[in-house]
Amino acid sequence: MMDFAAFANGISQSDATPKGLIASNDFISLQRFNVYRNNVAVSLVEALCTNYPVCRQIVGDDFFRAMARIYVASNKPSSPIMHLYGRDFCNFIDCFQPASCTPYLADVARLEAARVSAYHAQDYLPLLSADFAALDPERLANLRITLHPAARIVRSNFAIVSVWGAHQGAQSVENIDPFTAEDALVTRPNLHVETSLLPPGGAELLESLARGGVLAEAAAQSCLSSSEFNLAQVLNVLISTGAACLFTYDDGD
């Protein structure tokens, strides 16, 4: 019976060509087997190129592919679904010394992973400003807001939203100070993924809401974490980006 383990091992290790292949000589045998090694590596690098287009723009195609190839060598997928592949690429980039001159790269990768995940998330109609306007002001403190299935929060010490936006042609890279902390809100109110900048304290508020906290508690925590927190401003972003999908009251009614 075929030795699958030897073949699989040979794909991952360049010095372990499996035995028992039919070929007129060792050179041909190696050359043929290398087609598989190359197919596997190239296809997985290509999957990372697809999932991380802005990271690739930031460091350039050659650098990105070289970095991806090192990741691919020791991080094979566990699922045949390629949009799930490389979700921890950001952690690899964090430790990848040659990329240390772009310290924001790993967080941009986190943002791009969130965007891929949002792109494929479950469909759900987001709440609109009219839904918010219809809420009972007396009961706002006890309001729970369920985040939309596509909503993702990515926090960073770097200007990830501005850097990402600059690579969509929104603004010039030269005008961005990458060392400005920015929190991103990724949403998909319809079919298109949007990336928005969260105002100060916004990430704390949304994370509290995501954990199931009522609005009063969540707002109190955000006030503590950021002196610039403005509840109305954050709620405006929450509604206008389609990040909310359900309102419920936790006041016994």
Partner: protein, 295 residues
């Protein structure tokens, strides 16, 4: 009503046979072109794994395409030839097939997962009795779960195994017979594998159980420019090569018309170029249909 520029007008479709059509592998960037005017293209094929997310644009597009075209769901991740079948992945495929009710569902005579690692390539297997039993058993489980027949595709291979005791075509015929599945004949794969293993592709085709073929694939191969024996790579990155068109015409002549798909997955061209490739297949299909009706 707008006038069509002759340079970009869609190719004229020549064949109007009942349900024997030309199709293309669907690429999201071609969505608008396909919805506006797909020329000869009457069916679309998608890779099952690209539609296994929960929602969003992929499902929206596929739903709209399904209203206008027949679909072929082509799995690339089930690892039919591997040691173990992934039931979770099979459930995902089942969900997709149930939702879209495609005309064809196909997978490969290959493996891609071992010991929990997915290699994202179609890897070759030794054709021995153990493989025969395993592949038949896996196909049985897949067809039971999906509640329908599937098509099994002949592979492109770059290596062969000393431990193989079956010829590939004999193996495929036996699998088809025992599992009760049908076949997807990839003619580019026939050319690639036969050249790589110094076989005559015509002999391969003549022996192939064409009566079980329900779909044909055509794609472009690359020639690896290295010293030694000729090496063809199943690249899907260019037009179908002339020798593959000739083999295709031969297959249609001896086996009869079969719905045919153009695969172009890398360096993907504009939609019109893809439709023109489909029109060539459509024209060859028409020739065979006309010859057969005249006879």
């Amino acid at each position: 009503m707008t006038l069509q520029n002759p340079a970009t007008a869609n190719p004229v479709c020549q064949s109007t046979p009942a349900r024997t059509w030309a199709g293309v592998g669907f690429k999201p960037q071609h969505f608008q072109d396909i919805m506006e005017n797909a020329g000869c293209v009457r069916f679309l094929e998608v890779h099952a794994e690209n539609y296994m997310g929960a929602g969003g644009m992929p499902h929206r597009q596929l739903t709209l395409l399904r209203e206008r075209f027949d679909l072929s769901v082509h799995g690339v991740g089930l690892s039919i030839g591997g040691l173990a079948l992934d039931d979770i992945h099979l459930d995902r495929l089942h969900k997709l097939v149930r939702r879209y009710q495609p005309r064809w569902v196909s997978e490969h005579l290959a493996w891609s997962t071992h010991d929990g690692v997915f290699f994202n390539d179609l890897l070759p297997l030794a054709y021995d009795n153990a493989a025969l039993t395993r592949v038949v058993s896996h196909l049985g489980r897949v067809q039971d779960r999906l509640g329908r027949q599937i098509l099994l595709e002949n592979p492109s291979t770059y290596v062969a195994f000393e431990s193989s005791t079956w010829d590939e075509v004999d193996f495929i015929r036996e699998v088809t017979h025992r599992a009760g599945c049908d076949l997807l004949l990839d003619i580019n794969n026939v050319q690639v594998s036969c050249v790589n293993h110094s076989r005559d592709p015509l002999v391969y085709l003549n022996a192939f159980p064409l009566e079980r073929v329900r779909e044909i694939h055509l794609g472009g191969y690359a020639t690896d420019d290295v010293p030694g024996e000729p090496l063809l790579i199943d690249a899907h990155d260019r037009p179908v090569q002339p020798d593959v068109w000739r083999l295709y015409a031969h297959a249609l002549k001896i086996g009869g018309p079969v719905s045919t798909l153009i695969e172009w997955d890398n360096d993907v061209p504009d939609a019109h170029t893809l439709f023109e490739e489909a029109a060539k297949a459509d024209a060859l299909l028409a020739d065979v249909i006309n010859e057969r009706s005249a006879a």
